[in-house]
């Protein structure tokens, strides 16, 4: 039996009551946390250094221009979209947030994003001068007639070349006119089995699903989706040809190591360790500043008939549809956009691309290549069910293709119907 009397309940009871009242008061004070005055919340992702840079370069600049506004930043390390969606579900979305382009149609369709068309039209702030932006990138932020954000980065894929390995093999660095055939040729001459055990220690190139094979499809004049976005074009001969070429780099031409080696030794790690001569990476990748390596940047090869295309990953800044003070959010959004574009390179604006060397001196040696690549860069054409598309593409097509489970045409035939269903 609970003989609380044994504990001297009267004294205890009084003490508890007082403590409870006091604590409840503190509790309530903790519960009311609305900051007074105008405030804007922004959610961003980033690594440890990027947070630091964001604080010192972007945040201070924006705060200086918005003296009476309290700006709160939510730094999200991983699982960015889980956290973002949870905040939205609870009706507490951040006012501004990063969003990578493949999520824009999904979020726009679900009504989470603010349509900025009316705001941007007639605003002659250079940060939102649509003429200055690269149209191929901005198109991914349009959906159903509205414009739901603007990109702050667009990284065209370029080729990082290990100069020393080139010199040792007696191969000249490529120029921008090289085609697939030359690319394979160069790769072969850079692949060497130094100790004669049948397995090369040095490779010309490396792939593991990156760079996306779609880039090669575009260079070949094909695409995975039709121009109107309604039909899957994976089975088109030009696309199949490109996918086959992609996997042949490992299987047939043997200029790239098998996936096992990549899993064991790392993907970009192979390049950093000096075991791979050419690496296709984003323009902003730090591969050209690896200590101990002399790296040059070159444009990606053209297709067999000389057409140029390169893939550009991009991310943008969006405003939440449910934001309370839209005018304030828009103003702050522009400030952040501009500040980030002066921090991250390459910003998808022609005026900023022209000043690449000044914004990021460490990339000055690659500025011409990057600028040139930006003129023909393309993002994926994104749909509302982009995540399902990506999963099917990876599991049913790319992975078996790279593993050598089947040839490109058979896999394309199998994957196309499922993909077509997503375009309904």
């Amino acid at each position: 039996m609970l003989r609380v009397r044994a504990l001297g309940i009267s004294i205890v009871g009084v003490v508890f009551s007082i403590a409870s009242v006091a604590a409840v008061a503190v509790c309530l004070s903790g519960c009311r946390r609305q900051p007074s005055g105008p405030s804007v919340t922004i959610a961003v992702w980033g690594g440890a250094e990027e947070i630091d840079q964001f604080r010192s370069q972007v945040l201070t600049s924006v705060r200086r221009q918005t003296p009476n506004v309290s700006i709160e930043v939510i730094y999200i390390p991983r699982d960015y979209h889980v956290k973002l969606a949870t905040l939205m579900a609870a009706g507490q979305p951040p006012d501004l947030f990063y969003l990578s382009d493949e999520y824009v149609p999904q979020y726009a369709e679900l009504g989470a994003l603010l349509d900025l068309t009316a705001w941007i039209e007639g605003d002659d702030d250079p940060a939102v001068d649509l003429e200055d932006y690269y149209p191929s990138i901005v198109s991914n932020y349009r959906w159903g007639g509205g414009l739901y954000g603007l990109p702050w980065i667009a990284q065209p894929v370029v080729v990082f070349c290990n100069e020393q390995l080139f010199a040792e093999a007696g191969v000249e660095l490529p120029d921008r006119e090289w085609r697939w055939a030359e690319f394979v040729e160069v790769g072969k001459r850079l692949t060497a089995d130094l100790d004669g055990d049948g397995l090369p220690e040095r490779w010309g190139f490396v792939i593991n699903g990156w760079p996306p094979f779609e880039m090669f499809a575009w260079q070949n004049g094909g695409d995975t989706v039709s121009a109107d976005g309604k039909h899957v074009r994976l089975l088109d001969p030009k696309c199949v040809e490109a996918a086959q070429f992609y996997t042949d780099l490992i299987a047939k031409y043997q200029v790239a190591p098998p996936l096992d080696v990549v899993t064991e030794q790392g993907f970009s790690e192979l390049f950093r360790a000096g075991k791979v001569a050419m690496f296709m990476g984003g323009a902003a990748d730090e591969l050209d500043s690896v200590p101990g390596l002399n790296v040059s940047v070159r444009e990606v090869p053209t297709g067999p008939d000389g057409s140029r295309a390169t893939f550009a990953w991009n991310a943008g800044l969006c405003i939440s549809r449910g934001t309370a003070d839209k005018e304030l959010a828009y103003r702050t959004w522009k400030l952040f956009l501009d500040a980030i574009q002066h921090w991250k390179i390459p910003a998808p604006r022609r005026s900023l691309a022209a000043r690449l060397e000044i914004i990021e001196p460490r990339k000055a040696h690659a500025a011409e290549v990057i600028r040139s690549s930006m003129t023909y860069m393309r993002p994926f054409r994104v749909i509302a069910r982009q995540r399902q598309w990506d999963t099917i593409m990876t599991e049913e097509f790319e992975e078996p293709l790279l593993r050598g489970a089947d040839d490109a045409r058979t896999l394309a035939r199998r994957a196309s119907p499922e993909l077509q269903m997503l375009l309904r």
């Binding site: 690594g47 440890a48 250094e49 390390p77 949870t86 579900a89 609870a90 991250k344």
Partner: protein, 279 residues
């Protein structure tokens, strides 16, 4: 158990084999944490770092406000563990020793609360905490584990309690002690090995928790060490991961726990002494 020399040899051999197996990840982490930035990018078991950069630990700690993160993590972990262990053992005592209608059903309900992946309960739980206005505080992380998070421990403690002979308790109850008294003076001391195990497990679970802090905390100042650690993974198409710093912090996070375990496990030797048991 085995007293023979042969038996002892076998035991040592098995122990050593297993130890190697379990030490591999830790050694790998340690080695990676001591590599320089050029080598750190190779996520391999390169057993020869060119230099032993102990300053990685200092650099990693300085890269983010880990001191603050440490305090936050300690606060959450200690309060959560204390609350969890006490509330779990109390409830388990109720399930183990008292007959009341609906006991079996409630026990099955207890078990079934663990059968649903947190993936789908995340949103409703978040909504719940938002309703009381406690998002972006430590409360969901601590109080959440006091209540919902400890079905696991309740189950464990109940099993333990049901294995303890009734005689001691019955003696005390015949003398008129209250249930709480019995719980405090008899059950808890008898279940010392269990308590230690539970404290340890609860501590580690909170210490390493990632999803909770990620979802419920917005303010950078309130972040925990696991969150801080994740920032070393870099970002997609952005900053490259800093494996050496990440491993340094992971090692640092593991050490206190191992220390606590090493100290605590000696108490396991005491075991259960049943002197005073009648016949």
């Amino acid at each position: 158990m085995m007293r023979s020399v042969f038996g002892k040899c076998v035991i040592y051999l098995l122990l050593a084999a297993g130890a190697v197996f379990f030490l591999v990840p830790f050694v790998w982490m340690l080695i990676t944490s001591l590599k320089g930035p050029e080598q750190a990018y190779q996520l391999t078991l390169g057993l020869k770092p060119t230099e032993l950069r102990w300053q990685n630990y200092r650099d990693a700690w300085a890269a983010l406000p880990f001191t603050r993160f440490l305090f936050n993590t300690l606060f959450i972990t200690v309060t959560a563990t204390v609350g969890q262990v006490f509330s779990a053992t109390l409830v388990a005592y109720g399930f183990a020793r008292f007959r009341f209608p609906g006991r079996r059903v409630l026990f099955v309900v207890l078990l079934s609360t663990m059968m649903i992946p947190s993936v789908v309960t995340l949103v409703p739980t978040f909504l719940l905490w938002r309703w009381v206005g406690l998002i972006d505080t430590f409360d969901p992380l601590v109080l959440g584990s006091w209540f919902g998070g400890n079905a696991f421990f309740i189950f464990l403690a109940r099993q333990f309690f049901m294995g303890i002979p009734v005689e001691l308790e019955e003696a005390a109850r015949l003398e008129g002690a209250s249930a709480v008294r019995v719980y405090w003076h008899i059950m808890l001391p008898l279940a010392k090995p269990l308590m230690l195990a539970m404290v340890l497990i609860a501590f580690v679970a909170q210490w390493n928790d990632f999803l909770g802090p990620l979802v419920f905390l917005n303010d950078f100042d309130k972040y925990t060490m696991t969150l801080g650690l994740r920032f070393f993974e870099g970002s997609f198409m952005g900053e490259a991961p800093k494996w050496h710093w990440m491993m340094a912090m992971t090692t640092l996070m593991a050490l206190p726990v191992l220390l606590i375990f090493f100290v605590a496990q000696r108490r396991f030797v005491e075991g259960v002494s049943l002197t005073g048991m009648k016949g």
